[in-house]
């Protein structure tokens, strides 16, 4: 590549000299000047400067300077440069000019990235939304997909975990359209990924634009992988002749958004005794804590035996975070490049060894090696290192579980320095339980290192001639994971130093996994304009993908030292190995036709035919078509004047229909296999292999299909200051794989291969409004997006029947995995009420203080005077009916402020298993509000008694409103005046303070409302808020 650049430059110089010499023959008037970028005052090299209506022309040099000999000082000069708005400047007799070029960003000329190409925004017929990230991104997101929060209508992001490395958000575009994998296809610089991982790993500052292809007309070009929507990301490229160095950083601190409050030691001890008392029904019982022990708890005089530990406060903490980013970019008229380096360092809000570091390497190069031939390469490498205690991220859920699972009477540490495991009642007849998980020990015990090496490269050669272009690109994606977990030998002691349990052997587990994907894509494009009014574009393509995963893991025990963490460190016992492997292939043919008549009537058709190895021979290929049309009403001659006089510069109607598929399902489902991973013991303790049918295959399996239509309206008003986009969509998904088929246990298989059985409907309305204006030095922009969904509905299960999977119901006419449980009518206050009410779960123990459940049905479908499983009903909606985002940007004389709000409404979450249940077992603590439980003295009407018969069964009591509005991001910056900077040869310095998740408005207490819909216990690290400060430098 360097060779080409070099030779081009050599060629260039004599040519320019010749040009200057030729001009000099005719005229004597010389104009000089410099051209700069209007936004940062950087010199622009390579700007084409022509004297209009003459052949006089030149280019600006590396300092942006130019000298042009003109015919007349009354002429007009045209300054043009790719990516900038052309400017015509009348010389007006001057011989020294200073020109500032604005970047091309005019709404009507905006170019939007679509599948396999770009499109002028005004000519779009599908539902496509873009987020352009032109300035440096400072938002402290460790997963780049989180830049999408609040920015896109119809797109819901949900973060369920706050641990570095596993704190990515899930994304749903236009509702949940499958029972299975709903991850959208991600396309980064033409490379295709099935998950969000590569997107999340990008350095945010490398991203130029994020585009969501929402409807089927936009997504059908990705065929069998387009049904969940497509996210297309482009990374920043260099700009010709503008060498630029940018550096930015931030340093910040993270803090849990919400801290759960549990009962303190004495309240816990009293309530757990009360539980045993209530369970004994007036008979003798062994209290957990004796009177004497209660006194010790009360007065805190023996904290080694009876402490008052707030486990959540012990475990959660503030954690640091920092980020550095450096980029170099530039190029000349034929070659542009941009290289960058990113570093992210993130601690965890959970105590212990958890820590993540990420290094990003990127190099984007593009060169026009011939006037008809362009080569380009995009390289992205990431090295991600996560360290933690033995077991890695997996131990966090146990640490969170310990908040309620551990008695607050157990000290965090004993006086002798060891971790606390027991309180002083652990040898009582009714013994108190030791910590099942000592969270502080778990956080520090042993070592875990996970290294992730990720390399993505796309190499493309593109030839163009006479309206045709042919591009062939090869993509390589490589991902290696190398994990190592070392667990030392352990001794647990009680407060007196007695050993209570021990693990004598240390152990090491290592695993290595490799994923690679090779893709070849060949694209033929043709573009033609006929009779100046008919614009036609054609695209034909072919693509093949080979994808393979391999894994290998091993473990070994009994190393001579806890300090040796390698397999050859002397481990001598229990060697074990295991592995995994799978492969898949995809072959596709696709095409697109765009037609536009005077940019007024727009038509587009797409088709893709995908063949996937996931399906059996008879079902391998699927065809996915789409059609769309647009009518730019504002371009109609008879309306144009009328509209523009009303300030309406653009008005467009869009309509589309198409089919897309989802092949994001398991491999080899069509192929009946026997599970070879079983084992038994024979002889003198020899392990022998076993084989069995553990899953039933489905030879007729096919991809899932979504048929979607979309009607949209785009408008620009008030001189383009106000823009509006509104869409109505209707997504009908069918042939959905029904994996939770209720199989009778008598079939004897663990699972049944999915069947293409179910149908689901998502529909809704999206609205995006943007307003921007500048009043003197005060510039501002406001954006609002609102999405209103109709309730997600399973419309058919085919021949299948409803599935009740724990707390979740999948039934025709309800949302997928709707919350399913009992309805609480109130709390029994008297024995008479109990006697006169339906029998509650056949329990003879129901008593005043227990929940009174509604008798809704029975075996015959009518209330039967008995509360049992037949009385369950839908008690909550997992999917929000509203999404909203609001962003505002202000700038005034170097000070800028941006604010982003994001929220959801009309959504529920099951909150159970983290202390919400009133002492569900013999050890657990409960959230602090349980102090107000029902007792004869305190006949609560909202909280039942402790130790009741059936109060822990899932009911609407455990369903909470998960609506929230969150200040997702706020950033205040100050850009130092340029005059100050020029002395130190800097283009710009901006200082900023930024915050993420700082404020959340919600009804939910104790826990963050943002959480996965189907994870009722959700024992993940809590979400965090971040405050950062940093600077952006460019020179």
């Amino acid at each position: 590549m360097h060779v080409f650049t070099f030779s081009k430059r050599k060629l260039c110089t004599p040519f320019l000299l010749l040009l200057l010499f030729t001009n000099a023959v005719y005229s004597q008037v010389v104009v000089r000047g410099t051209v700069r970028d209007a936004s940062d005052n950087a010199p622009l090299a390579g700007v084409n400067i022509t004297e209009i209506n003459t052949n006089n022309a030149t280019f600006s040099d590396q300092q942006g300077a130019f000298t042009l000999t003109v015919n007349s000082l009354q002429s007009t000069l045209r300054f043009s440069f790719i990516g900038y708005q052309s400017q015509d400047i009348a010389i007006n007799g001057q011989t020294q000019l200073t020109i500032a070029l604005e970047t091309a960003k005019h709404e009507l000329d905006e170019i939007v990235v679509v599948g396999y190409g770009t499109q002028k925004k005004v000519n779009l017929t599908g539902a496509v939304q873009t987020l352009q990230l032109d300035s440096v991104v400072n938002a402290p997101v460790s997963n780049s997909a989180q830049l999408m929060y609040g920015r896109f209508s119809g797109v819901q992001l949900t973060q369920g975990n706050g641990l570095p490395g596993t704190d990515g958000s899930s994304i749903n575009i236009r509702g949940l359209g499958t029972f299975g994998n709903s991850v959208p296809l991600v396309v980064i610089d033409g490379m295709q990924f099935d998950g969000l991982a590569e997107f999340n790993r990008l350095a945010p500052a490398d991203i130029e634009s994020i585009t969501v292809l929402k409807d089927a007309s936009a997504g059908a070009i990705y065929g069998a992988r387009g049904a969940n929507g497509v996210i297309v990301i482009t990374t920043k490229q260099g700009q010709a002749s503008k060498f630029r160095v940018e550096y930015s950083n931030y340093v910040g601190v993270q803090r849990p958004t919400e801290m759960p409050k549990y009962l303190n030691a004495i309240d816990y001890a009293n309530l757990i005794n009360e539980k045993y008392q209530n369970e004994a029904d007036g008979k003798a019982f062994n209290p957990r804590y004796t009177e004497e022990q209660l006194q010790l708890i009360r007065d805190g005089s023996d904290p080694d035996r009876f402490a008052n530990t707030d486990w959540a406060a012990e475990v959660l903490r503030d954690a640091p975070m920092q980020n550095h980013y450096l980029s170099l970019s530039g190029g000349n008229a034929s070659t542009v490049y941009r290289i960058s380096l990113g570093y992210l360092d993130q601690g965890a809000v959970v105590k212990g060894k958890f820590h993540m570091q990420r290094y990003n390497f990127r190099a984007n190069v593009q060169s026009d090696v011939k006037d008809w031939l362009t080569v380009s390469n995009n390289f992205n490498g990431t090295f991600n290192k996560f360290v933690g205690p033995s077991g890695g991220a997996n131990v966090v859920s146990n640490m969170m579980y310990s908040f309620r699972r551990n008695a607050p009477t157990i000290p965090a540490y004993y006086k002798h320095g060891g971790y606390g495991f027991h309180d002083g009642a652990y040898r009582n007849v009714n013994p108190s339980m030791g910590t099942e998980f000592q969270p502080l020990e778990l956080g520090e015990l042993g070592d875990f290192i996970s290294e992730d090496y990720n390399i993505n490269d796309r190499l493309s050669v593109k030839a163009a001639f006479k309206g045709f272009s042919f591009e062939s690109a090869v993509t390589l994606n490589l991902d290696f994971y190398d994990d190592s977990s070392f667990k030392p030998s352990i001794i647990h002691r009680d407060y007196e130093g007695n050993i209570t349990s021990s693990v004598d052997r240390n152990s090491l587990s290592n695993s290595f996994s490799k994923h690679y994907r090779i893709m070849n894509e060949n694209l033929l494009r043709y573009q033609v304009r006929l009779r100046e009014v008919h614009d036609l574009q054609f695209l034909a393509g072919h693509s093949v993908i080979y994808d393979r995963n391999d894994g290998f893991s091993g473990s070994l025990q009994n190393f001579p030292s806890d300090n040796l963490h390698e397999f050859d460190g002397g481990g001598v016992a229990s060697p074990a190995v295991s592995g995994s492997a799978n492969e898949q292939t995809l072959q596709s043919f696709f095409g697109r036709v765009n037609y536009s008549y005077k940019e007024r009537y727009l038509l587009e058709a797409n088709i893709r035919r995908d063949g996937s190895s996931k399906f059996g021979p008879g079902n391998r290929y699927g065809t996915f078509p789409s059609f769309s049309a647009g009518w730019r009403i504002s371009e109609e001659p008879f309306l144009k004047d009328a509209l523009s006089s009303g300030g309406l510069s653009n008005l467009k109607l869009r309509a589309s229909w198409g089919r897309t598929g989802n092949n994001g399902i398991g491999n080899y489902i069509y192929d009946q296999t026997y599970n070879a991973g079983l084992d038994y013991v024979l002889g003198d303790g020899t392990i022998v292999g076993g084989v069995a049918l553990t899953s039933l295959a489905n030879p007729t399996i096919r991809w899932e299909t979504t048929a979607q239509y979309n009607i949209g309206l785009d408008a620009a008003l008030l001189g383009n200051r106000l823009s509006l986009e509104a869409d109505y969509f209707n997504r009908k998904s069918y042939d959905i794989l029904y994996t939770n088929f209720p199989i009778p246990g008598t079939l004897g298989v663990n699972s049944l291969a999915a069947q293409n059985a179910a149908e689901m409907l998502n529909k809704g309305v999206e609205l995006n409004l943007n307003y921007s204006d500048k009043r003197g030095d005060f510039g501002y922009a406001l954006g609002v997006n609102v999405t209103k969904f109709a309730e997600n509905k399973v419309t058919s299960l085919g021949s299948g029947v409803q599935t009740i999977d724990g707390y979740f119901l999948t039934r025709e006419g309800e949302s997928y995995q709707a919350y399913y449980g009992h309805q609480v009518m109130g709390i029994f206050q008297t024995a008479d009420e109990v006697a006169n009410a339906p029998v509650q779960f056949g329990s003879p123990r129901t008593a005043p203080g227990d929940f009174r459940y509604a008798d809704l049905s029975g075996p015959e479908g009518i209330p039967d005077g008995v509360i049992d499983a037949f009385d369950r009903t839908v008690i909550g909606n997992p999917y929000p009916l509203w999404l909203f985002g609001l962003n505002a940007n202000f700038d005034y004389k170097g000070i800028d402020l941006s604010v982003l709000f994001q929220g959801i409404a009309d959504a529920d979450r099951i909150m159970i298993g983290n202390g919400q249940q009133p002492f569900s077992d013999e050890r657990s603590n409960a959230l602090s509000y349980w102090i107000d439980r029902w007792t004869p003295e305190n006949p609560s009407t909202t909280l039942p008694r402790i130790g009741g018969a059936n109060n822990t069964i899932l009911s609407n009591f455990y369903v909470e409103d998960a609506s929230y509005l969150r200040l997702k991001n706020i950033e205040v910056g100050y850009t130092l005046p340029r005059t100050l900077l020029q002395k130190i040869r800097l283009n710009g310095i901006r200082l900023f303070v930024s915050g993420q998740n700082l404020l959340t408005f919600t009804n939910m207490k104790n826990f963050d409302p943002e959480r996965a819909a189907n994870n009722s216990a959700a024992r993940n690290a809590p979400l965090y808020k971040v405050i950062t400060g940093g600077l952006n430098l460019s020179f």
Binding site: R427, N522, A576, D671, G690, G745, L747
Partner: protein
């Protein structure tokens, strides 16, 4: 020219990988089903796949801190108290369970059917194998395994759920919605399978296949099924078949029998094999215990401890040898092998003393580990102790009981019981010495039932015995009389003697109906 060249190369690329084989991919880690069951090796793998089911926690490997399996089933009875009631038995005894909330019912059901379906596959496919594919002796042996195992799984179901779907052929999804069959039909199938298996199986397996069912295992289980079906003569003769094999004896001391040292003893007629090994799911948890007090979820109840005789063969209420101040003294050695008393060291490698700090005041000793394993695993972790499904002592007592019930009372009845009593390390007085001669049928019935209780305590057989004797209600009386703090046994007739069909199964299979007692 160059342009043409590039276009040609591009078009070549366009057609790479177009062949159909590019898209034809199969699992790299699983066996294709269409060419399985072709050789003896395949058949062995298939049989091991059935055995794998036996290691399910809710069948034979549980339990510590999880849903109860058969090793915990004495908790349904007057033998032991389930400190962690939520594991299943504790709540069950208190009448505080339902088909929807108790996972134990579901997982016991699922595991047995998983085994049945794997057996059905093996029976159908091994049966079809040709002489070229498998030698007839090997074929008989493996077919016998599958039949034996199917019978074992069905027997588990019929004892605890009574009427259950009887499926003897491989099913498809379309044929899976099946109704229940009457208990008697299921039991007849069990008997038929065991009779066939007994004919096919060898008397012994080679040493490297120890653990596979033998002729003795099939006849022994057959005796158990006949006893359950009250076919006394058949039960007696099935038990006699085991005895007649001359493969079994009671030479190993009783206490040693319930450690890993006892796994290969001649008392073991059929066991579920376990091994503690890194990376393999072949371990068990029924032999594990907490260290603050012995086995919280299975505590010997006082009425059982008091039911063990003194060394003179007399009950504690009659014997002069009994000292209430030192209840361990002069007691049936089987008691001392099965139960920890206050002040016993129950964690040997740490010298941890049982302070009597549990609800019943007695700790479970039988099968329970007393020190870290050779692999360093603590007593609270997983272990590798085999679980004995069928012991020779049980066979002897079954024959004795069958003869008594058939009223064929003779010297043999005494001799059978005496063999059990006079095992090394037990050496209790003979029936003649302790209870006398010329005993009546009811007297002998009581003797053999008592002998079963003390010999087989905590081995998961008590509930089965009480159900078939029709004395579950009486056992509840003893449980209530023990008056344990925080334990409220409530006898609810049939509901205390059967399991409900799990709700998930009723949800999935519309042809099923709930057991009458659980409606």
């Amino acid at each position: 020219m160059k342009k043409i060249l590039i276009t040609v190369i591009g078009l070549q690329l366009l057609f790479t990988g177009c062949s159909e084989s590019f898209l034809d991919r199969h699992s790299l880690t699983q066996l294709a089903s269409d060419n399985f069951w072709q050789s003896e090796k395949d058949a062995l793998l298939g049989i091991n796949g059935i055995y794998d089911v036996l290691q399910t926690r809710q069948l034979y490997s549980g339990n510590l801190n999880g849903e109860a399996g058969i090793p915990m089933y004495d908790n349904f009875t007057d033998n032991s108290y389930n400190g962690y009631k939520w594991e299943g038995p504790g709540n069950y005894v208190e009448g505080n369970v339902s088909a929807s909330t108790t996972g134990m019912f579901m997982n016991f059901w699922l595991a047995n059917y998983r085994g049945i379906v794997r057996s059905n596959q093996a029976i159908a496919n091994i049966g079809k194998m040709t002489a070229e594919q498998i030698e007839s002796a090997a074929k008989d042996n493996l077919l016998g395994q599958a039949l034996f195992l199917r019978a074992l799984f069905y027997f588990n179901l019929v004892v605890y759920y009574e009427d259950v779907p009887l499926i003897t052929e491989p099913q498809t999804l379309e044929t899976a919605q099946v109704a229940k069959n009457p208990k008697s039909e299921v039991l007849n199938q069990v008997i038929a399978d065991l009779q066939q298996a007994a004919g096919l199986l060898p008397a012994t397996q080679p040493a490297d296949r120890f653990g596979y069912a033998t002729k003795g295992a099939a006849y022994g289980l057959l005796a158990r099924a006949f006893l359950f079906n009250q076919q006394w003569d058949n039960a007696a003769s099935a038990a006699q078949q085991v005895i007649g094999l001359n493969q079994y004896d009671l030479s190993l001391p009783y206490a040693t029998q319930f450690t890993e040292e006892g796994e290969h003893s001649k008392d073991v007629v059929f066991s579920v094999r376990f091994l503690e090994a890194a990376g393999f799911a072949t371990n068990e948890t029924f032999s594990s215990t907490y260290t603050a007090q012995p086995k919280v979820d299975k505590q010997p109840m006082p009425n059982l401890v008091h039911d063990f005789y003194c060394t003179d063969g007399k009950p504690i209420t009659e014997s002069d040898l009994y000292h209430p101040d030192n209840p361990k003294e002069n007691r049936d050695p089987r008691l001392l092998a099965s139960v920890w008393f206050k002040n016993d060291v129950f964690i040997e490698d740490r010298g941890t003393v049982f302070t009597g700090n549990n609800v019943t005041g007695f700790g479970l000793k039988k099968y329970i580990r007393t020190k870290n394993s050779a692999l360093g695993t603590s007593t609270g972790g997983v272990g590798g102790q085999d679980f004995y499904v069928l012991r020779y002592a049980d066979v002897l007592l079954m024959r004795a009981e069958a003869l008594i019930e058939a009223n064929q009372i003779g010297d043999e009845v005494y001799s059978l019981i005496n063999q059990v009593r006079q095992r090394p390390g037990v050496d209790m007085p003979t029936v003649q010495e302790a209870e006398g001669t010329g005993l009546s049928q009811p007297q002998l019935r009581e003797i053999v039932r008592h002998e079963r209780r003390v010999e087989l305590a905590f081995e998961g057989l008590r509930f089965f015995d009480l159900i078939r004797w029709g004395t579950v209600g009486e056992a509840y009386g003893r449980m209530v009389a023990d008056n344990l703090n925080g334990y409220n046994p409530r006898y609810q007739n049939k509901r205390s003697e059967t399991f409900p069909v799990p709700l998930s199964e009723l949800d999935a299979n519309k042809a099923l109906v709930q057991h009458d007692a659980w409606k």
